[in-house]
Symmetry: C2
Subunit: 196 residues, 2 copies
């Protein structure tokens, strides 16, 4: 986690409840999706490449969401229009999420915050952080599917840092694994008791 002044970004604070997933369980998920130290190193290498490009990356991601009404629906207010203040608030935390993912400190604070992020996507927690009245839930099927556009659109940005093609590919693969790891953790609040 990082000390920031981003509204609603509570990672590392006592506002974030303990994740129901244990560190040992995370290790088994990491082993299953072949996340190794080389991936952690590749993520950290990506950090300085992506850092100066955060706003450009978010432009691409927000462009994708905006072009897909079934995704933009998550931000739609009671008047049927996208809530611009809500979009802007989430955007700042999304930018921080890129940095946090690239930092790859998969510690207890990170784990707890992944659970918090998951809850905030569901009707058990959505809208509360920003005090908005948008759609009350993001279906799990879209949360999981976003793995592809998130990581595919990242590749050109990874290639902007002067790394070799092999290094870019290693960073890209590490990102696919890190995002999958996190969306798996985000899925926990969606899942039936004892099914996760």
């Amino acid at each position: 986690m990082a000390v920031t002044t981003i509204p609603g970004y509570t990672s590392g604070t006592d506002k974030v409840p303990r994740s129901p997933v244990s560190r040992d369980e995370v290790e088994l998920i990491k082993a299953t999706l072949l996340f190794g130290e080389d991936d952690r190193d590749a993520l950290r290498s990506s950090s300085e490449i992506l850092g100066p490009q955060i706003e450009a990356i978010l432009d691409v991601w927000y462009g994708f969401v905006g072009a897909n009404p079934h995704l933009l629906a998550a931000f739609t207010g009671p008047n049927g229009e996208p809530d611009q203040a809500y979009l802007a608030a989430v955007r700042r935390r999304f930018g921080q999420w890129i940095l946090d993912t690239a930092r790859a400190e998969f510690d207890q604070a990170w784990l707890d915050y992944q659970h918090e992020i998951g809850v905030r996507h569901t009707r058990r927690g959505k809208n509360r952080t920003d005090g908005v009245r948008a759609a009350d839930h993001i279906p799990l099927r879209f949360v999981l599917a976003l793995l592809i556009p998130i990581t595919t659109t990242l590749e050109p940005f990874l290639a902007n840092g002067g790394a070799s093609q092999d290094e870019v590919e290693a960073m890209h693969q590490a990102w696919v694994k890190a995002v999958l790891l996190q969306v798996i953790l985000w899925s926990q609040p969606y899942v039936r008791e004892g099914y996760f």
Copy 2:
């Protein structure tokens, strides 16, 4: 689906209940994970390359499962040992799943069968197809995480067919999307009512 004599492979038969997910919903999932006609074509190109290598692919996948006690646990019987007959029965359907995925006929029979596959991984359906007494549930976190080893280990087999590096990469990417699409559908029976 294909007409086969594989025990428990019921795709396309009236033994498979209707999926609760609609074809329109599948199209939105496909759009979200950027699955296009080029991916469908690439999957079909992979079919003839992978077809003759099914047993070798399954050897790799079963090697991975066997090397990971938390995955092998799915096949462990009441005596604490892997149920070899169960492993063999699942293996035949797993081989057929490779062919069905590469065929990329994402029709109603395929959709219904994806739901059936999902149910068979949970305590609502596991073990019944084969009449075994193994672990009664496979945690969703491992089902989702298997996306990476399944598709990563496939790449060398895709490269065995004389296709160019670009074609191999296109087939690999199509496989990542197709497996993600299917594990998303498999997740439906795991998810709380109204959360999928």
